[in-house]
Symmetry: C2
Subunit: 279 residues, 2 copies
Amino acid sequence: MVVNTISDQDVEEMFELARAVALEAGQVIRENFYKDKVVDTKMSAADLVTETDQAIEKMVHTKILAKFPDHKFIGEESTHETHKHELTDDPTWIIDPIDGTTNFVNHIPEVCFSLGIMVNKQTVIGIVYAPIKEELYTAKLGQGSYLNGEKLQASKIKELKQAVILFEGGASRDEQILQDKLKNVHSLFTNARGVRSYGSGALSICNVAAGRGQAFFEYGLHIWDFTAGNLIASEAGAVVTDPSGAELNPLRRRVLVGCSAEVAQSLSKVLTHLDMGWD
Amino acid sequence: MVVNTISDQDVEEMFELARAVALEAGQVIRENFYKDKVVDTKMSAADLVTETDQAIEKMVHTKILAKFPDHKFIGEESTHETHKHELTDDPTWIIDPIDGTTNFVNHIPEVCFSLGIMVNKQTVIGIVYAPIKEELYTAKLGQGSYLNGEKLQASKIKELKQAVILFEGGASRDEQILQDKLKNVHSLFTNARGVRSYGSGALSICNVAAGRGQAFFEYGLHIWDFTAGNLIASEAGAVVTDPSGAELNPLRRRVLVGCSAEVAQSLSKVLTHLDMGWD
């Protein structure tokens, strides 16, 4: 096995490109936000993709390969068709061109570009950019996370009954999955202070990082939805795990982010843990 | 019965005061948003009130009576204790000092001051101000509604399956009420494009007015949660009714706001209609 060594200089160079493509992606999102969209459905009527998703991913792909021709790439749109999601130790750029595509189609501002970079299967850079809200979240491993340059700190609440939980229903309309997810919503209403749902997993994780709510979980999302956000959250002091409490597997399509270990553990205990397959 | 006559000049004078107290209330919210709060619970652990709610309502009450000593007043905090909510034909200022108190306590930005003015039981002015988001929504009857001075237009979507629905769980933790509300969430997942929940009824109605989502409904909210928002929404072309499809009764603690008559009717048909009592 070849272990990739990575210098601070390497991280800075990747970060600068990542930040530049995020801002460019944001500009494309902004230009198209109020236009009517040509919409394609992927898995269900709730799983949408637009021309803008595809155009952004192509642009980002091209720019990354021009500077780092041997880097790997996992993107929502380009890898969707082939269903190949191979995660190696190589530097890998993991991209969701538009997280919150339904919001994008319906003119709801919680829309973002998400980009995480993994090396040796560890996330070293995370950037989430929500251009309509003008929120740029950035993180480098071990160096804290920031919103528009301001350092982030997750909430210090420890009790679930004081916590507001960020929830996403996801795109599946399978009846058994819906029933299990509604069981979880019921559990949130009876055990936590409140439930919020914004339609973007990446931005919801960033909200937990920013202290706007105490936890987020989702069953059925993908590696490109949470890789960047998870680093932004953990660098803000939050705890990122598999919903069962086990170590997160980035290909396992589920995540729990708690502002504190106590909230994460209490939430894990009251949830029904769905198995949504693997990326 | 005395019918109150009201001139354009009267409306302008009330609007100027309403706008001024909204901005002042917003300043108080902003100053207290990041402080830790002394929290009291009203009906359940999810129904919170803070010193800031009470301070704002007292300030607004004083300023209104100084200028309009014979006007009536219905406010969340001041009328809560006596449980008197008498709605007459007199000019009546209907106030929620902080809509989204749980958000306020948990540092989540969807927090607003809401002020509607009714004359002859018809809403003539609506103002919703979200100071952390810097969003000021204003409406005068027959004159359109505005967000930070920009004219609002609700979405023109007609099909429920293309609609994103804004939902609030509300503060009740009664098991039968929760079960009926979860039935409605299930119905949204199977009939609509998506479900969002922001923790503020007033702001959710304003979102529908602004074309950010196609409908909002809630069972168990109060007259001060929706009076201002309803005018802002209807002046933006949205349809405001009782969730059953009947004419709204402002004291009946339930509302449905649809971007179009078609979305409102389709949504009404797939909901379980809860009876949550009267204000």
